[in-house]
Amino acid sequence: MSKTTDQPDQDRRAFIGKAAGAVAAATLAPGVFLHGVAGVEYRQEPVTDKVRWGMLVDSNKCADGCTACVDACNHENGLDLLEKPEGLSDDMWDQQIPKWIRKVTVKDKLSGRESNLPMLCQHCEHPPCVDVCPTGASFRRADGIVMVDRHTCIGCRYCMMACPYKARSFVHEVVEHKPTISPRGKGCVESCTFCVHRLDRGETTTACQDACSQAGHKAIVFGDLNDPSSEVSQALKQYPSRQVRADLKLNTGVRYSGV
């Protein structure tokens, strides 16, 4: 079957490759995740709606002046690697830099009672940002994560107009440092992904949740809303909670209690 002497026999190699692959597949755990290097499991099968990721934020526990979740998110997703372009004022840079999560302090108009909370993409079940995207780049994954497919995003920013929570950011400048787990480039729109790169590796916590726990506040509880025994489902049963802008009937994945 070989035609030239210096070319290896491709067909024989293909057969050996397939045979080796079959043996390997048979010996692997027949599960969704494949054990990789250093105990990291990578998702092998397409994600399903068996899991719905969600979060409960307890604003009673959210501390005034603390930005642990914001700093953790910026570090995790490479947002703090972005550099201010030369010639841009600090003021404009602050208005243009992507911010996936932010701290908000609100005060009740009648009682004067103040609450602190992080605001981020709410991962709605019926996201307005998904409705308005002309190319379908803004989409909702089967497990409830709302994100942007930046291969298809044309940078029209209509989703940013449509988001009721102002959760989306636009990349206004050329990106120099690109983390592998969070590819990012000029001209596309982005927002909180619930640390999808972690979830696809078999983990179940987000960077903001971990940081808030480490800071001792435990205001953020993240997990599977479809699992009644998960920490977040238990917390939702126990504490009264609501959606922000509930009148829009978006069935958000992020719920708040205490505000």
Binding site: Y42, V47, K178, I181, G185, K186, D200, A207
Partner: protein
């Protein structure tokens, strides 16, 4: 001044010389380079012939699988490609994969096809299991 037969021969010679020069630049040599991991392998994901012609289709299919369905098979990920094909300089630091005369550039420069991937994707391997993996200096464009 010159007879038509001479002109034809000159023309033929010029055409052949041009074709030879172009053929000399054509990528039929082995482009797996130097000290990259791929240099030590015959092929990995698919046969070399297939990859040469169809790697872009594989990349496009896999990116949909990854982004929309969360499938993260390492050998089929862009990061996986880079890990294998990246070269290291004398100081053992990875050279950005899309730099001149690195793996991608060798064919893409000849074929005059602009690469869009690395406006967003890292050009050197960065640790994936280290949360908050920092992009190294090597991938600064």
């Amino acid at each position: 001044m010159y007879g038509s037969e001479v002109k034809i021969r000159l023309l033929l010679a010029a055409v052949l010389a041009g074709a030879w020069a172009l053929a000399g630049a054509a990528p039929d040599e082995d482009w797996r380079q130097g000290n990259s991991k791929a240099a030590g392998l015959e092929h990995c994901v698919r046969s070399t012939d297939y990859m040469r012609r169809n790697h872009m289709e594989l990349i496009e299919h896999e990116r949909t699988e990854t982004v929309h369905h969360g499938v993260r098979i390492e050998s089929k990920s862009l990061a996986g490609c880079i890990k294998c094909h990246v070269q290291y300089d004398a100081a053992a630091k990875p050279i950005p994969i899309n730099s001149e005369e690195q793996f991608c550039d060798m064919c893409h420069e000849y074929a005059a096809v602009t690469l869009d991937c690395f406006q967003c994707h890292a050009t050197v391997p960065t640790p994936e299991t280290d949360y908050g993996a920092r992009a190294g200096e090597g991938d600064k464009q």
